[in-house]
């Protein structure tokens, strides 16, 4: 009923393969298998079919920042456990485990860098750290990255990969949405742009805050970008989902992003964007 009042027409396009439980280096699109070094050399893009594997934050930074230019900031910011949260395991244990398994202090890495000579600030998320979820530490690090960019008079390039807000921090996780929105607003007051790159997946609270406030917004091929995940949508609405539900390509068609940029072209694309914004002033 309410669906019928607001126009609900949807479009169907070619489906991506379902994920299932495979070895992480087996291509879900063409089933080719690779060694880490092989994928590392190809920017974690399947050399056979072009499928974009998830990319770790450090590899992402190496792939877009000029060699030796990245200087990490806010590396010491760590999550706390304000709610003494305990589900099947304590939140603190999950944090410790994530830090161990990823070598990262949080789900986002921020710092100064240059891209083809253009000084900028980077904020790169890592989905492997608790699903790239945004809690207080991620919000704080992203916001400080906005401040750093504003102070230095450079653009902020963010690369998001996130399942959404971090449930274990309860309402404080939700507050990272307005917090990062405020930070982007302060970046804009300093006349500096946010260039937002959406990697697979960018959903929930990250999509509903800074990621969609980019002055230029691009997504990687096949990246899921949706506020609600496909499973939630399916369960809530019992609708048949379009095959390309929430994917970058459909978001381009629906007007939500400026381009779908394959990973090997991303550095060149960002260079052009940074050059254009730098020449405006």
């Amino acid at each position: 009923m309410s669906e019928a009042r607001i126009d609900v027409s949807i479009e169907h396009k070619n489906a991506p393969e379902p994920e299932g439980k495979r070895h992480p280096n087996t291509c879900p699109a063409c089933a080719s298998h690779y060694r880490d070094e092989e994928l590392d050399a190809s920017l974690w893009v399947c050399p056979h079919c072009g499928h974009h594997f998830p990319m770790r934050a450090q590899a992402r930074i190496a792939s877009i920042a000029d060699e030796g230019t990245f200087v990490e900031e806010s590396a010491d910011v760590r999550s706390e456990d304000p709610l003494d949260f305990f589900d099947l395991r304590p939140y603190t244990e999950r944090l410790a485990e994530a830090e161990m398994s990823t070598g990262l202090g949080e789900a986002i890495v921020t710092g100064q860098a240059a891209i083809d000579g253009h000084a900028c600030e980077l904020a790169v998320m890592d989905f492997k750290f608790m699903g790239g979820s945004m809690g207080s530490a991620v919000g704080e690090k992203f916001s400080r990255a906005c401040d750093s960019a504003a102070e230095r008079g450079v653009a902020l390039v963010s690369v998001s990969a996130s399942g959404g807000a971090r449930m274990q921090e309860g309402i404080l996780a939700l507050m990272q949405l307005p917090k990062t929105v405020c930070a982007v607003e302060e970046l804009h007051e300093a006349k500096q742009p946010l260039v937002s790159v959406l990697a697979h997946p960018t959903t929930g609270g990250v999509l509903a805050s800074f990621a969609t406030l980019g002055d230029v917004i691009v997504a990687e091929p096949g990246a899921l970008m949706s506020f609600a995940g496909p499973r939630v949508v399916q369960q809530t609405t019992r609708e048949k989902l379009p095959d390309d539900f929430g994917l970058a390509e459909s978001n381009l068609r629906f007007g939500h992003i400026d381009a779908v940029v394959p990973r090997p072209e991303l550095k060149r694309y960002l260079t052009q964007v940074l050059r254009l914004f730098a020449d405006g002033r």
Binding site: F86, A165, I171, F227
Partner: protein, 310 residues
């Protein structure tokens, strides 16, 4: 769940904490004194008490946005449509008067009977609803009308069309609009404050919360089904992520708790509206006369400060 004295105490504490202390020991002393007092007076709400809030926040007889608007404000003029594609009935917007002064209103609206519930999509907005909210906020800004928002939604609607119409971006842009407003803004979580769908209209100078409302990053059921892999563990999940007003106040997420009549707002909507009206007037009174730029600066500082990290 909590006596009025306790609520006032918590409110006072929250305000003291939010002040940027200019080196004053006196204030810190008072803070400690109040905290000790509060501790004596109350323990943390228990898991059962939290769940009671969840039930009351969702109670079918609970006053909704328009129930409060009609009781607190005069001369309500509802505005319709996003000027683009639709009029989303899950969000109501308009102008009204409070003590003779014109204000703007935006709120989520649930339905009372089956038909209205359906037409209002159970208070779950589409992006079109947030675009209606945005244009109403901009209207308020253009004419200097203070803005009152009322949060009462299980969440933004998770549907295929909602995604295709840009649900994430609409929620982000509604927040960004609120950050920019040059008028006083007061948000109240009156029932369910469900996640992104709630915060979209709650980035205000003062954020109030009804005593039995809940405000959370995810629904108890959603949290339970993800973390416990069992939606029936909702009560356990709620106890863990603490969506109740007392906890929200303690965490600095809200500025004050609005008392409800004993047993909950549904027992006496007129009295609930009287109490809410008082809180709204008080909140607005604190904001009037503050210059636009200062309002914006403080609003940003307030939300920038939210979070606990090491």
């Amino acid at each position: 769940m909590a006596g009025e004295a306790e609520l006032r105490l918590r409110e006072r504490l929250a305000k003291l904490r939010s002040l940027s202390l200019p080196g004053g020991t006196r204030l810190t002393d008072e803070l400690e004194r109040l905290e000790r007092q509060l501790e004596r007076m109350t323990q943390e709400p228990s898991g059962e008490e939290i769940w009671r809030s969840v039930e009351l926040a969702r109670h079918q007889d609970r006053p909704y946005t328009l129930d409060y608007v009609s009781r607190i404000f005069d001369d309500f003029l509802e505005l319709h449509g996003d000027r683009g594609r639709a009029d989303d009935a899950a969000i109501v917007a308009g102008l009204a008067r409070l003590d003779g002064r014109t204000v703007a209103i935006v709120g989520q609206q649930k339905g009372r009977d089956i038909k209205e519930r359906t037409s209002r999509n159970f208070g779950m907005p589409y992006p079109e609803g947030y675009r209606k909210a945005i244009r109403t906020m901009e209207l308020a800004d253009r004419f200097g009308f203070p803005l009152f928002t009322f949060v009462d939604t299980p969440g933004a609607y998770p549907g295929v069309a909602a995604e295709q119409h840009g649900q994430g971006g609409a929620i982000a842009r509604s927040q960004a609009t609120m950050v920019r407003l040059g008028v006083p803004t007061v948000a109240t979580v009156i029932g369910e404050g469900g996640s992104g769908g709630a915060i979209a209209i709650a980035v205000a100078d003062r954020v109030l919360m009804s005593e039995n409302a809940i405000y959370s990053v995810i629904s108890p059921e959603g949290c339970a089904s993800i973390l416990w892999r069992d939606a029936s563990q909702a009560q356990k999940a709620a106890a863990a992520f603490k969506p109740d007003a007392a906890h929200c106040l303690e965490l600095g997420v809200i500025d004050a708790i609005v008392p409800e009549p004993p047993g909950g707002a549904q027992t006496d909507p007129d009295e609930a509206a009287r109490l809410l009206g008082g809180s709204l007037r008080e909140a607005l009174g604190e904001l009037e006369g503050v210059p636009q730029d200062e309002l914006r600066r403080r609003r940003r500082a307030k939300f920038r400060a939210l979070g606990v990290f090491a």
